[in-house]
Subunit: 350 residues, 4 copies
């Protein structure tokens, strides 16, 4: 039995940070060595600083652990997971990469930098090739790998096998997003109860740009690769709805060759992703295809298999773009902590 | 001062029936003469038979009124409003029309019959011309006029001015519908709380068919008109969300000439509908255009002006179909009782 | 027709401040002269600074009004309503009273000062007599009158007629309080959705202390009165539940003489309060007694008559204390803005 | 390794039936041999007849199992769990007991019969002694054992150790009950959303009667025992609140000797129940005492340890009865299926 790799969680007290902690506290490859938080919380115990909302045992049994500052000196580890806010991440994450550590970040700060892999692990693992350029140009001994916005992660996991099989030519989608996507105190009960909020700042732009980037092919010579972002018309409208966990997207998609719904269902259901490669966080089936007309539902389906699969239902003909379906995924797992941990597993396995 | 016209409400105990009662109990043109219900409730008082959920005074002060059966003998009046279920309506409504009464129905039973006006009052009042054929072919002394499904009513009120100004060529939409659209006990708390239900039986089909019919032009010689349903590709996905009142639709629309968002906003905001014609239920502005990015919201906007306007927000460019916006309307008012009462007012005013 | 008295609202942007504005924008006695807010918002328009959540017309039509600072110089008026936080109120309110203005405050800062009337208008209007001492001892030209905590206001309005008729000897109660009691962003959707929060900081203590004070008799010579707080054992447990507006309390009460439920119902239903005295905000019946076993309900009953009455239901025998009932009232109206405005009307009418 | 005992679930399609199935599909002592349902569902597969809402694998992997009728002939097994409605249970359960089977019933039909043990397993296991009389007087070869109403089960689990240590002299309580207590379609979303329903038919009476029975001592000679129901003044008010699972009760209790809160906490925390006796469903600690002032909360705590413990928080002095606390338990597990399965384990272990 091999020694487990020490890892750190930056921003351990927020909703995504908690999910990282819950996953890593019992991970077969990783040993959760450090919990880091903002200066105001450093020195306090995890239980004092963190309202635990990630289920399972409170604070995953680490409630007495002392929080450290988000610096390589205090929080250094070979693998670092970041659940920091974008503004803080922009300052802090490079310091860890410069110090030789591999940073897996859920923050939006560096997602669209040309030398940073923006990764959905089952979809574009080959984008890790950008790290050669990243090391060379930035002079980092370590690495920085990002996962996308939570809504993007859910959408792309369903689009990727369709893009591989047919080619995606246009997408129109409408999201119904969970409260937990906005963080612990991100939406007040008074605003969201019995309501639909028809706007989430920056979300639609992220969804379009990140999807085009993730589905884009790698180009250029070995060691000098670039991602050519897909030229994909993508129309999005993002809504917050009174749901706790799980983003639902209603999607219309134009596929090359105009396949019938049955063909689309088959491609989705047979998408293997990283299953069978021994990565502990990889779901057996990254896309679960539902046939019951009233599924998927966030409250019934988001938590299945640790929140790692996305759930596709109601695949049918769309009179405007060709194919219509609904896709649901767990915003904090597939869309954040779980995706990032799987990114690290993929990184280590290569 | 003129005498008010006696009217009846068929199906007065359900959610839509209650809204009819609340509107008609104080209507300047109509006198609420009869409340009719299913045989099981006939003979009971309105208060005994009806859990009042329409706001204002309980049972609009009519709690002691005795319910009668849904027959022309017991419930006859010059104007009859029907909130019956489709199966019952199919039997009952023709009896009233045959007996010389004008029936304004919220039921789906006859909506697509070629000689029945399917009316959104501000949109296709000219379809009342079908009544000539209806009288002739069915031999009815009265008339039957339908209003559309609640979701259709909301969508069409926003599409109609755009169709008139530009021509609508394709529509892709996603609805987030309120619990009250399913009736008093239509959705259990256990199913809907914190959840999104991604299917409403028959709703998407109704939305496509009824929209094409309502926007279709009247053709043929006077007294022999037909509606030529629009040949409109319309893709719909309908969801139930934890909202009490107010259906929200996110809409992408392809308009002839590809107008810019500003032009679309102007057309919507300047749509006059029936304002200024003295109809008591006509809203001053049938379409309210919101500029705040986080509006409309069902809990804040659905009830404005008696629930009669629809609210359009976030009008913007759509990279797939050209224009994208969100539209919200009150499913029980614009989408049911209010629309039907306004249909009757329009009918009487001609 | 008499000129209306100019009034100010301090803290006009919060939930209670908005309710003050909505009531005062169309008040027959008062003219809303000034809207005051925190220094950060002074100078902005009301529409810019305030997310309007009080219903009716947005910002009651005062969206373009400029906000001023909470100083007597900028915000002075003969009558001043305060919706400030306690800490700010402690500094700000005396300045207005010193400057000769009559302050009606919803803040908790001065509620228990011996020379400050803590008033539920229908219950202990005679406590206004404390103002003589207040003026004398503080040297204020104006006055400061407080209304109680929202939960206290609801409970006391029901207890007061029972105390007058029988004498209240002990109370055990459990509250189920609405989200709006915590302010605009006071409770996050993630915490409250589908949940019960079994603690509201300081609420139970306020409920006990303020109830004892309000029900306490006035003692001492004219011009030198004191309130002798009731020696009342009151056990309270306060919960936050997923309700928007309206606090519900389940109450067990021990009454002198152990009256039967029917006698209790009669006393409550015949409580006249200030009805008939021409005060514009006084409800016709301060206590509405419901006989239906499933009433009152916050969503159906809290808004009745502007939220001013409290609703009592399920009056029955309690095997432990004698009488049990449930009471519901609107926390922002009876429990805050409406109560405070009625206090001012009562003050002016004497 | 011993063979597992075959068991049946009667009423397997409802919410409680599903919880039985989920527990029994992987039980170390029991083999789930038969799923029985109403005549309308007999012959259908479990997946066809049952909307699965019990979490985990859909239908616990038994979706293809054919449902049988609720007769000893079709559904017979040594151990039978009943999730039937009271009216059906009254007819059906005796047939199984007469046929020699041991029936563990969640139905209310026989709970108060003098020869039927009404059992909370950790509390009054000795009441199983009533079975001697039951067999003798009814001539049954089998047995019938009931568990109480869900609210009673939660309350009694907290009261029992206090009664043992001090003696309970009076109880006043207020419940805030979850939607799932009313069954799959028991409460409509339109009624419960953002609301408190202040009445649950029959619940308060059950709570008083069943609590007095369960806490009552066994009297009489061996083989001829009776339960002497406690003479306990118990005042209850039961409310439905917008929560999915988990009933919360705010409790005031009068204990002999007036112990201080710290003593009450110690007694509750040290209550061992059946832990250590090798019963698979027995929780390690039947009562979990929380010290954080904002706990327990139904969404955070109800599911812990399979929903079998009850959670007590905010133990404090009550100025009216002496001690006040809040108790939470899972209505479908501690309050129904889990309690009943533990009853059967206790029965078999003796």
């Amino acid at each position: 039995m091999q020694a487990r790799t020490p890892v750190t969680v930056l921003g351990a007290t927020g909703l995504v940070g908690q999910r990282f902690v819950a996953r890593l506290a019992r991970h077969p490859w990783f040993e959760l060595a450090r919990l880091a938080a903002s200066p105001g919380n450093a020195g306090r115990t995890y239980a004092e600083a963190c309202r635990w909302r990630a289920g399972g045992e409170e604070h995953s049994g680490l409630g007495l652990r002392r929080l450290v500052n988000c610096t390589p000196e205090e929080a250094g580890a070979p693998i670092v997971f970041s659940a920091l806010d974008a503004a803080v991440a922009r300052e802090v994450e490079p310091a860890f990469a410069r110090a030789g550590m591999a940073v897996f970040s859920n923050a939006s700060a560096f997602r669209l930098e040309p030398d940073v892999p923006l990764l959905v692990p089952e979809v574009n693992g080959d984008h890790l090739a950008l790290l050669a350029r990243q090391r060379r140009e930035r002079g980092w001994g370590g690495a920085l790998v990002c996962n996308p916005n939570c809504t993007t992660a859910v959408l792309v996991t369903a689009l990727a096998p369709l893009h591989a099989a047919f080619g995606v030519e246009a997408v129109a989608c409408t999201s119904m997003q969970a409260a937990s996507g906005a963080g612990l105190d991100g939406v007040s009960a008074l605003e969201l109860s019995g309501n639909v909020l028809p706007h989430i700042a920056g979300e639609e732009e992220k969804l379009a740009r990140e999807t085009a980037r993730i589905l884009g092919p790698l180009e250029g010579a070995a060691g000098d690769e670039r991602v050519a972002a897909l030229d994909l018309p993508l129309s999005a409208a993002c809504h917050r709805v009174p749901v706790l966990d799980g983003h639902t997207l209603s999607v219309s998609v134009k596929l090359r060759g105009a396949p019938v719904p049955e063909a689309v269902r088959e491609v989705l259901a047979s998408f293997e992703g990283l299953a069978g490669r021994g990565l502990p966080t990889a779901p057996e089936r990254p896309v679960r295809v539902h046939l019951a007309p009233d599924r998927p539902q966030p409250r019934l389906d988001a938590d299945a298999d640790g929140g790692m699969p996305v759930h596709v239902g109601r695949v049918r003909a769309c009179p405007v773009l060709g194919i219509r379906f609904v896709v649901l995924g767990h915003n904090l797992e597939r869309g954040a902590a779980g995706g990032s941990v799987l990114n690290a597993e993929l990184f280590l396995s290569r």
